[in-house]
Amino acid sequence: MIKNPSLFLIPFADNTEDQLLWSAFQQGDSKAFEKLYKRYVRVLYSYGYKILPDASVIEDLIQDLFIDLWQSRERLSEAVSPKYYLFRSLRRRIYKAEKRHINRFRELDSEDSDILPPTVPIEYEIIQQEGETQQRKDLEFHLKSLPLRQYEALTLRYYQDLSYAEIADILLINEQSVRNLIQRAVLKLKHLALALSLFLFLFLL
């Protein structure tokens, strides 16, 4: 059961509930629209800010997204997954913004420069309970060191629970590329985490 819905609402957001809010908002229910906003504004913002770390730009993009959403509500399709629609719409707006401010942002295709980590021998797979907190912190650090596209794919897949097809559409690549991005990200994280635990293990010895 969800104990703190306001904090953890988004990863568990029920699509059925989203769709109810969506169709209510399409019929001009501004309260439903506000609920939808409150449901998604935080994750959309943090997702956008990770890609384009400029608070005022992301604020503008999110405002525009919701303003356009409200004003085109009668023309929107009903069968959409609201979460997917919102992420896709924000990502498209970020692409456009990036084109406008091309110099200010990191390269989009940085995942190409990512070298696959060497395969980790199975005998090193030791996880120590005591080291878990430290390991988690390091994982967070490693998340930051992931190429942006890998991070995006990873967070859309496992945190936002979007399908490969949806992610492919959001990132403007094909599904297989999404799978590759995620696979590489997971491998890299595993490798880094295990290398670290091995290091700790040896150090403790």
Partner: protein
Amino acid sequence: MSYKHYQLDDFLLYQPFREWCLAPDPESDAYWQGVIEEYPEKNEIIQQARQLLVSLHKESNLNAPTVKQVTSMWSQIDHYIVSDEKQITPNRTFRFLATYSAAAVVLLVCGWAIWSYVLKPDYSYQSQTFPIRNTLIEKVNLGPSSLMVILPDSSTITLQPNSKLSYPTAFARNEKREVYLTGEAFFNVTKNANKPFFVYSHELVTKVLGTSFTIKAFEKSKVMEVAVKTGKVSVFSRKSKSHSFLQKDQRPNATLTPNQRAIYTRDIIDIEKQLIENPAPLLTPYQLGKVSQYQDTGVGAILDNLEAIYGIKIEFDRNLYRNCVLTASFTNESLFDRINLICKGLESTYSVKDGKIWIEGPGCL
């Protein structure tokens, strides 16, 4: 519930597992502890999945907006919702259209202005006289009655109320006599075949050698009129296809003889030749008296007389009317009264077209 075949991916996307990772409680703790004990080989994957979810969640929270940001963004959005419901603020599509429409309007207005003020020929009285105003005398009649103006060549012009006339201080030798009119005036031009007399009234030009005629050419009116009393008058439109009037060989749009008038419709740049409403005899009453009594006279002769008296061409089939004779006595009847009487006697009808009178009927056998 069997987790025997669960991989990392399966745990990550399994909703109860996600809830345990991100919002654990004693109940879920106990449950997943039990799973790990039951499937010790899955412990590593479970730990990895849990760490990944928690890390992604923390990373997301790290970049999350502040409450203030969330509120201020909403107030911006809400502004549009309120406006939208009140139907005041045009929507974005409309704003987009409005922007482009405005640009289009600006272009159109600029284009129109350039056309009007730069490219479009302006033949108004004002624009024609202004550049040469130092060489002109202007007479303006703002009073209730007509004003007589005598030109250097002793032509007389009767200027009607609300009209202006400009003419040179002197007509140069061997050159055109050129005057400018806006409004209405009757011209009695002294004959001088070497120096044609031109009246410029807006886009209408009247050329005569020595005649009397009336021009009605008010700036705002839709039609202008040149009505001839005596002599021969050529009328030109400056807006006609053969544009440059000052070329020597431009053919007149209409050549008028007495009792004819040209009606110039400015919108469609069309000159129509008509008869004036009440054609006046060209002869003196003395001369008239001689040709107003007819006793068993041939119709051809009577109509020829009328043609001569009024200077208006009367068209009829001479062959058909060869044997017709009439006895008539005219005194004060107007031209059309006389034509009517004649037509009654001949069981014929008449029409006026192209400045002429046309008589049609069975004739006399």
